[in-house]
Symmetry: C2
Subunit: 326 residues, 2 copies
C-alpha cells in the first residue's frame, strides 16, 4: 500500500497477546480437528486449526479485526482502506462494520465477482480501477487522500501480522507439545504471526511453510537469502499468489522457518482428502499444508504436527474445474 511497509517496526509476541485480547469479543476461537484416517495416512498426529470456521471463512479476520480495533477514535472516524478483493477485503469490511466505521476497498477490474459481492455485503464502499498495479496504487492514494482513511495492508502491516499470530497462539495453548507447525505461505502474514507465537510458546517447535510451486517466490527468497519476486504466480491456490513481504521475510528467517513447495496436483489430491475425510470444505490454499506433510513423511512421521487450515471460501461454481485440476 505504501513504500514504508518494509521499514515498519517488527511486531513481537506481546503484540500477538494484545491482539488476542483485542479481538476476543469479535473473533471465534476456532476448534482443533483430528482425523484418524489422515493420521494413519501420514504416520503423524495432525492437529488441524480450523480457520475456515473463522468469521468471513478465513484467518484474515483476525488481522483485520486487530488493525481496526487498534485505531484511535480520531483515526477510526476516517475509516480504513485496502486494495485486497480477496479474503482480507471481506475481513476488513466486516471488522469495520462491527466498529461502525467506513471501509474503502479498491477493486481492480476482473476481480472475482463472488468475492466482490461478499465485500459489498459487509458494507464496504467499492472503488473500481483498471487491473494494473499503477492504477491500483493511484486509486488507493486517491481514496486515502480524499478520506484520510487508515491503510491496512493484507500482510505487511504489523497489526495484521500480530492478529494472524493469534491462531497459532490458540493452537499452541490448546495443544501443547507440538513438534512442528505447518502453515501456508503467500505474502507471509499468517506465517510471520505464527512465527512470533511459536518462538515464545514453543521454542523447540519447527516452523514449515507450505508454498505452491507455481508461486514459489518464498522458496527462492529463502534460497537466495534475499527477496526474489520474479515470475508471475500460476497456481490454483488463489489465496497464496501474493509475494512475500519484507517484514514477513525478516521475521521468518529469524526463526529458521523452512519452505516446502507443493505443486497443484499435490494440492488438489490433499484437498480431496480433506474434503472426503474431514468433511470440511476448505479452499485449495488450505490444502497445501496437508500436501506438504504427505510429501515429506521423513520429516513428519511420528511427530505431533499442528497445521493451520487457513480458509474455506471456495467458489462452488469453480469447484468442478478445481477437482479436474488434480
Amino acid at each position: 500500500m505504501n513504500a514504508s511497509d518494509s521499514r515498519a517496526p517488527l511486531p513481537a509476541f506481546a503484540d500477538v497477546q494484545t491482539a488476542a485480547a483485542r479481538i476476543a469479543p469479535y473473533a471465534h476461537v476456532t476448534p482443533v480437528l483430528h482425523s484418524r484416517a489422515l493420521d494413519a495416512m501420514t504416520g503423524a498426529s495432525l492437529y488441524f486449526k480450523a480457520e475456515h470456521l473463522q468469521r468471513v471463512g478465513a484467518f484474515k479476520f483476525r488481522g483485520a479485526c486487530n488493525a481496526v480495533w487498534s485505531l484511535t477514535a480520531a483515526q477510526a472516524a476516517c475509516g480504513v482502506v485496502t486494495h485486497s478483493s480477496g479474503n482480507h477485503g471481506a475481513a476488513l469490511a466486516l471488522a469495520a462494520q462491527l466498529r461502525g466505521i467506513a471501509c474503502h476497498v479498491v477493486v481492480p477490474d476482473g476481480a472475482v465477482a463472488a468475492k466482490v459481492a461478499a465485500i459489498a455485503h459487509y458494507g464496504a464502499q467499492l472503488h473500481r480501477c483498471a487491473a494494473t498495479l499503477a492504477a491500483r496504487e493511484a486509486m488507493c492514494a486517491q481514496v486515502q487522500a480524499t478520506t484520510g482513511g487508515n491503510s491496512v495492508h493484507p500482510y505487511t502491516d504489523p497489526r495484521v501480522i500480530a492478529g494472524q499470530g493469534t491462531a497459532a497462539l490458540e493452537l499452541l495453548t490448546a495443544q501443547p507439545g507440538l513438534d512442528a507447525l505447518v502453515v501456508p505461505l503467500g505474502g507471509g502474514g499468517l506465517a510471520a504471526g505464527t512465527a512470533l507465537a511459536m518462538r515464545a510458546l514453543a521454542p523447540h517447535c519447527r516452523l514449515y511453510l507450505a508454498e505452491p510451486a507455481g508461486a514459489a517466490d518464498g522458496a527462492r527468497s529463502f534460497a537466495a537469502g534475499a527477496l526474489d519476486h520474479a515470475g508471475i504466480p500460476d497456481t490454483i491456490c488463489d489465496g497464496l499468489r501474493g509475494t512475500l513481504g519484507a517484514i514477513n521475510f525478516e521475521i521468518l528467517r529469524a526463526c529458521d522457518a523452512q519452505v516446502l513447495t507443493v505443486d497443484d496436483v499435490q494440492a488438489v489430491a490433499a484437498l480431496r482428502l480433506l474434503w472426503s475425510r474431514t468433511k470440511q470444505l476448505v479452499e485449495p490454499s488450505s490444502a497445501t499444508v496437508l500436501a506438504a506433510v504427505l510429501a515429506h513423511p521423513a520429516v513428519f512421521a511420528g511427530r505431533k504436527v499442528g497445521v493451520i487450515l487457513s480458509g474455506g471460501n471456495v467458489d462452488l461454481d469453480a469447484l468442478p474445474g478445481l477437482l479436474a485440476a488434480g
Copy 2:
C-alpha cells in the same frame, strides 16, 4: 431382511438410553453447529447436529454399533449380515470390526464402487448378487443359513432405531428448549429413533420429517393413514430412497410427526448454502432438512429448531453433476 420386521416389539426411550451407554466407547458425541448467516436467512435459530462428523461419516454408525454390541457372545460368534451397500453397510462393517466379529454384506451388481470399497475397507466380506430384490433376498437367506449370522436391517431393526435415537438424545440434552426438530425421512430409522428421544425429553417439541418429493412414500403414507410404497424413487438424495418401514411408521404416527417434502432443486440450493455458509461437506440427504426450513418460513421463523445433518459421504467425482442439478 425378513418378514417379521413389522411385528418386532416397538423400541422405547429406555432402549435409546441403553443404546447411548452401549455405544459410548465407540461413537463420537458429535458437535452442534450454528450459522449466523443461515439464522438470518431463515429467521429461525438453527442448531445443526453434525452427524456427518460421526464415524463412517453418518448417523448410521450409532444404530449399527448398538446392534452389534447388543449381541450375546454366542450370537456374535456367528457375525452379522446385511444387504445395505450404503452408509449402513459401512457402519455395520466398522462396528463388527471393532467387536472383532464377521460382517457379511450382500452387494447387488451396480452398487456404487466407492461405497463398496468403503465396506471392504472395514473388513466386511462381500457377497455379490444380481440387482433384483429376489436375488438379494435369496443371497441374504443363503448367507444367513451358511453362517448363522444375525441379520441387521438398516432401519426396521429395533436395535438400529434405538441407536439412531441417540443423536437426538445428545442434541436435546446439549440444547434444551427446542421448539422443533427436523430430520430427513428415508426408511425412518433416524426419524423413529428421534421420535422416541423427543417424546421423552421434549414432549412439547414438534417433529418434522424432510422427505424428497421424488421418494415421497412417507408423505403419501401419512396422508393415507397406511403405508404406500408405490412408485420408483427418483431423487439425488441417495440416502433417502428407502421406503418407510412399518415399525417406523407406527412410531412416527404416535408422535404426530409431519412430513415436509422438498424437491431436488430445493435440496441442491440448500446443499450449496450449507457448503458455502457452514463449510461442512454434507451429502444431499442432509440438505433436505435446511430445504424444508427454508420452504416453510411460517412454520419455523422465530423458533428454536434442531436439525440433524445426517451424513457427509459425498462422491467427489459425482459432485459436479450434483451442483449442476440445482
